[in-house]
């Protein structure tokens, strides 16, 4: 069973502070993704990666950085958190093939006050 683990599961941060969301996958997948989920928008892609050392901008990258130091780990970094970044964040991993499954973590609920 593919496993994607996110930490923390819940986080309260102050405006202007730095936040790091972590993701670990044990599937040996090349591709990893960060999405945010907001009511009325579904899931929107923030950053993704094709392998260790690579990061690519998704559809809404402003205000976020990503880091892929290894095959297993993919982090999302908010250097200066803002209330508009309050959301639920999902990490996912998968192979690159179009018809292959993408596996999701359980999400991180971030509140920026």
């Amino acid at each position: 069973e593919a496993a994607v683990t996110q930490s923390p599961r819940n986080k309260v941060a102050v405006t202007g502070g730095k936040v790091t969301l972590s993701c670990n996958q044990t599937n040996n997948h090349n591709n990893m993704y960060w999405y945010r989920q907001d009511t009325g928008h579904g899931l929107r892609l923030i950053h993704y990666s094709y392998g260790a050392g690579s990061t690519e901008k998704g559809d809404i990258p402003d205000g976020y950085k990503a880091s892929r130091p290894s095959q297993e780990n993919f982090s999302l970094i908010l250097e200066l958190a803002t209330p508009s970044q309050t959301s639920v964040y999902f990490c996912a991993s998968g192979e690159g093939g179009a018809n292959t499954e993408v596996f999701f973590g359980k999400g991180t609920r971030l509140t920026v006050v």
């Binding site: 998704g58 093939g97 179009a98 993408v102 999701f104």
Partner: protein, 113 residues
Amino acid sequence: AQSVTQPDARVTVSEGASLQLRCKYSYFGTPYLFWYVQYPRQGLQLLLKYYPGDPVVQGVNGFEAEFSKSNSSFHLRKASVHWSDWAVYFCAVRRYNQGKLIFGQGTKLSIKP
């Protein structure tokens, strides 16, 4: 640009009734289409996937979906819903040569006893 629209934000059906959740996509070329389900406080799980071939695809838990190129649709169906189907359902499209998924806004399904 590729996109997915789920026109119904909320759907309520009676337990045992049939279900259809609508999905319209906009895509140039051959789409790879997916339905995911999100149970409360969980990540997304794959229900079924379509890649070029039989337009009707079967998924888990009695779900099926039908691809229509002429209508640009990929509607999800179930003959008889169960209370355990109470969840949010997401339709997604994936480009052939990329791994990332583009999601619709989601449809929240509620079940009446």
